[in-house]
């Protein structure tokens, strides 16, 4: 009965620890949020299942080639695209091919809100340094404030690969929780009068502007922050494929098959990379808390900057400062939150279109922010 014993020694029952069970519960919670609450399901479901996948207990050091960190395992090959930062740019390609920048183009001053909200990145970097994380780690943690999953994974895979799991999970969790995190901050920092500001209806953007924008936007932002090239280049490339009008079949594949395939692989392996022993630490907990702070600061940054801009804008041109909250990105949830809060105070005040501008600008903003951190700390 040696064989039977041996087989049992391989089984999950023989190798399970309480940490494995905690991780499995965490995975189930994320799947629950995704499926039952419909919060960011496209990522929380794969990440949640990935956590299960990565935390099935098995005999270590037996050369079974099962674990995500073991050379030769299937997960390890699929994880390659994460550790080398290949998946995030490909997702950005797809996002570019599904993003309509008209809202941004129709009211360019709103772009600044997408910049202001990135203060969340840098103040969180600051806070993390203060708490004793190394500079590179602090940079990777700060990017949670960018409220953009692929950017967070890309930067943390370069600056602090060992923290990538918790950073990615924090980023996606808070992006999912944006409808809960943002409204109190938005209400705290605005007066009733400000919340009902009606903005001018947006102009129609001609096709030629939509085609030129990805080219011009790409050249400007990547000249300023060449280290953000993989993200910005793919984002604008995808958008050009979409807007050019002559490469529709490429754009269609980029925003469907390609982005779906990469999302499946990225979500699963990022989830599976969170193995109990390395994940369940106090550091992970403090990163998770810093993430919440980052989202609050980012939201506050956007709102306050909108109020600052209003000091210089003429009556009738004033910005509804709620729109500032959309600058964190978390596309498109935070723009929806703005619309929702706006409607609470004036049922005829549709802010969605006005919030989309800062919202997509926030994606560009956090990519630039990631580029800066990568250049200085990389």
């Amino acid at each position: 009965m040696n064989i039977l014993n041996e087989f049992i020694s391989y089984s999950g029952f023989a190798n399970a620890t309480w940490q494995h069970l905690v991780m499995i519960i965490i995975g189930c919670v994320l799947m629950f949020l995704g499926i039952a609450k419909k919060y960011e399901p496209l990522l929380l479901v794969p990440i949640g299942f990935g956590i299960l996948f990565g935390n099935i207990p098995f005999l270590q050091d037996a050369g079974l080639q099962l674990g995500i960190y073991e050379d030769g395992s299937v997960l390890n090959y699929l994880y390659f695209g994460v550790i080398k930062g290949i998946y995030p740019p490909l997702i950005f390609l797809g996002i570019g091919a599904m993003t309509d920048f008209s809202a941004l183009l129709s009211n360019p001053k709103m772009i600044l809100l997408g910049a202001a909200a990135q203060i969340g990145i840098f103040l969180t970097f600051f806070g993390a340094s203060w708490l004793g994380f190394s500079l590179a780690e602090a940079g990777a943690i700060g990017i949670i404030g960018g409220a953009d999953g692929p950017t967070a994974i890309f930067l943390s895979s370069r600056l602090a690969p060992h923290l990538m799991g918790i950073i990615a999970i924090s980023a996606y969790s808070y992006m999912a929780l944006v409808p809960i995190i943002q409204p109190p901050v938005m209400k705290l920092l605005t007066t009733k009068k400000e919340r009902v500001i009606k903005m001018k209806s947006v102009r129609n953007v001609p096709k030629i502007e939509k085609i030129l924008f990805p080219i011009i936007g790409f050249l400007l932002t990547s000249f300023i922050a060449p280290t953000a090239l993989p993200l910005l280049g793919m984002l604008f490339f995808g958008n050009l494929l979409k807007e050019s009008g002559v490469t529709e079949r490429l754009a269609d594949t980029a925003r469907n098959s390609l982005v779906n395939i990469v999302t499946i692989l990225l979500g699963l392996t990022v989830g599976a990379s969170t193995q109990a022993t390395a994940f369940l630490t106090l550091r992970s907990l403090s990163i998770f808390c810093l993430g919440a702070v980052a989202f609050v600061i980012a939201t506050a940054g956007g709102v306050l900057f909108a109020k600052l801009m209003n000091l210089f804008l003429k009556e009738g041109n004033k910005i509804n400062p709620l729109c500032g909250a959309a600058g964190v990105s978390a596309v498109p949830d935070s723009a929806r939150v703005v619309q929702h809060v706006g409607l609470q105070y004036d049922k005829t005040n549709y802010l969605l279109m006005h919030a989309m501008g800062p919202n997509v600008a926030g994606v560009i903003g956090s990519a630039v922010g990631a580029g800066i951190l990568l250049a200085v700390l990389g």
Binding site: A97, M98, D100, S102, L105, P108, K109, I111, L112, A115, A116, Q118, I119, I121, F122, L123, F125, F126, G127, S129, W130, L135, A138, L188, L189, S201, V202, N204, P206, I208, E209, F213, I216, G217, L220, T221, I224, A225, K242, R255, I297, A300, L304, K307, R336, Q339, T348, Y350, L351, L352, M353, M356, A361, I364, G365, V368, I372, L373, V376, L377
Partner: protein, 132 residues
Amino acid sequence: MKKYFIALLLMVSPMLIFAMGIPDENKRMILIVTVVGIIIVLLALSIVSISVAIMSKTIHASENKDSKKVKKIKEAIMSDDDDRTIAIALALHLEKISLDEEEKAILTIQKVIKPFSGWNNKAFGMRNPKLS
């Protein structure tokens, strides 16, 4: 006004505490990265913002002549409830994740909304419109 001041203070306070607390060399580095980082992001997007504004004006100037006719039609359709239409159109977009068919969506919206504004209820029934 007071509460914004408090908010600002709360955001900056760690930096102040930090500036006093830790004496080593890294401190300066951290502060500079934080401040310079924020500035560069703002700078970068300001440049984008300005460039977009210039681009728009240039294109608008050169296009202005021949687009009057198109505008008229659009105005006729979209009338005064501009924002609402667009917001709904956009909301529709977001549901489908693909944001790329503004024109279609607006047209769809018009097909769907207008009949209820009263002036062509009959046409609506006959045209048998199809969403998406």
